[in-house]
Amino acid sequence: MHFCKLELNQQVKDIDMRQLNYLIFFILIMGVSGAVVAKQSKSPSMQEIWKLLQVQQKEIKKLKRENRKLKKRLNIVADTIQHPTKMSTKPQRHSVAKKSFNQKSKATTTTTPSRESYTSIESPVRKHGSESIHTKSGRGATVNGYGEMHYNNLDSKKEMDFHRFVLMFSYRFNNRLRFSSELEVEHSISGDGKVGEVELEQGYIEYDFTGKHSLKAGLFLLPVGILNETHEPTTFYGVERNPIEKNIIPTTWWEGGLLFSGQLGNKGLSYDIGLHSGLKITSANSYVVRKGRQSVGEADATDLAYTARLRWTGTRGLAVSASMQYQENIGQSLDAGIGNANYYDMTLVWNRGRFGIRGLYAMWDLNGAGPQSIGADKQEGWYLETSYKLTSKFGVFSRYAVWDNAAGDATDSEKEQWNVGVNFWASENVVFKFDVQRQGGVINDDGFNLGVGYHF
């Protein structure tokens, strides 16, 4: 019984001790919380807030100063990287060639801070397809090029041919005077007995006199037809050039001499007029125009030729032109059977949206008993091409061409050709081509052509 009482007392003590512990713990928590609350509820004085604001204000000012300094340094770094030859913080002798293109050299420099340049792109040296170095004085050298390789699977031939490999070098002496050239390797190999040739197709000095007209002196492409001046493979449909600009217009046709070019009025009318070396067509080459090209290589210049063109591009998507040429004696006075010659052509190019139309008529009128005897006194042809761009990369076309290099007699010597095909532009500068060819008339030559071309 006593034992039970003792045990009970012990239990009461234990309970009391636990309660006491809880009480102490509670008091401690309350005390700490009270102290914290008391501390938190103690608001800083106005003086303390003012001091705090002063410190923060100083910090903000310091950060702003640092930010300005950093921006300046960043601009200096950017200028130094992009314009390594000048310091961006000081005013520099800075070209305004871009601003005063036609001003005389005296006025081409002015003192301006580099950051006042009015061009968004700041880089002085561009990594273009065409590797160009435009120096600040308006001088500059440029390298361009184009090329095309063909596979022809035709009745007449089955061959693979790197048809053209062209490099073009240009140099700007000043804002008015420049040099342009085009060097071509045809059919990939040249030399004795080889099928190909190395040719200089352009090499002239061009001068903008009075800033309103230009004059070319040297070896230049004649302003005739559609393709003779612009024939980068990415700019036309079909693997091979159209037969008119091969058999009637001897494209690529270049001569040596002088050529004036300019614009008339402000409505899209332009002219070209030139005096230059001419063709040499004789009975030895059966009066075939294409074989009369002398390529300005020790060319017989007994009789020069005159070429003129009027071109109108005054409305959206449309370009029309008419060219003519006259040569006093197209045999260079070596062949008594041939006299003077006249050439005429008319072109039309119309692009609207995805549609395109190209048309060309060209003819030769060769005077003399020689050409007349084989009907070559009249040589003519025309073509019409329609095209449609399915997407920005795919385009389809069809072309019908008729030509006759002996249209002056009653004998049927006319040829006609259909081409239907597709161009695929892998990029703006690279094109893959395929077309099916059906040639009829005096000779059939059917098959297909594949090609790849580029320009840069």
């Binding site: 871009k98 005063s100 009015y118 061009t119 273009h128 435009h134 061009e206 008339l264 370009a319 692009n351």
Partner: protein, 174 residues
């Protein structure tokens, strides 16, 4: 000198004496273009910095890389002006663009240096770009009609238009 030669010489002299406009040259200085765009008050120059991703997109647009860290532009009242340059065939063509609300408001050929392709300066060509915008594929929202004999100049101007809209996008999205 025969009759034909004399006639040709007379034609040349007549042409040289006629009223002509230049094919090459400065049609408007970039400075004047910016000034005109903002009614005589040229705003402070702003910059768009080009990161790696932007440079990759620029390479896609131009077909070559652009050696620049940042692009200058002028902006005021939601209107932005950009002066861009790109080679047509051999020479740089300088073009001014005004972009407002993601659409081209105005485009002007400022300096033309190429031998051919000067027709791109005519309003019948430049007006095609009015109100044009960028698609989600970073292409122009409309097809631009080409000009015979000026294909490379047309391509260059079209690429610059895409670039101006892309830069606008970078400037406003950033």
């Amino acid at each position: 000198m025969n009759y034909f030669s004399r006639s040709m010489l007379m034609i040349v002299i007549s042409l040289l004496g006629s009223t002509v406009v230049t094919a090459r040259g400065v049609y408007q200085t970039p400075r004047d273009f910016v000034k005109e765009t903002f009614s005589g008050k040229t705003p402070k120059v702003k910059f768009v910095w080009l990161d790696k991703q932007a440079k990759q997109q620029i390479t896609k647009i131009l077909g070559h890389s652009l050696n620049a860290l940042r692009i200058r532009y002028w902006a005021a009242n939601k209107k932005t002006a950009w002066i861009l340059e790109e080679i047509g065939k051999e020479e740089l063509i300088t073009v001014g663009f005004v972009v407002t609300n993601g659409r081209i408001e105005r485009i002007k050929i400022l300096v033309f240096r190429e031998s051919r392709g000067w027709e791109v300066r005519y309003p019948f060509f430049t007006d095609q770009f009015k109100q044009i915008e960028l698609t989600h594929k970073i292409k122009l929202s409309r097809t631009i009609d080409s000009i015979s004999g000026a294909t490379l100049s047309v391509n260059a101007v079209s690429k610059m238009a895409r670039l101006a809209l892309f830069f606008y996008k970078l400037a406003t999205d950033g």
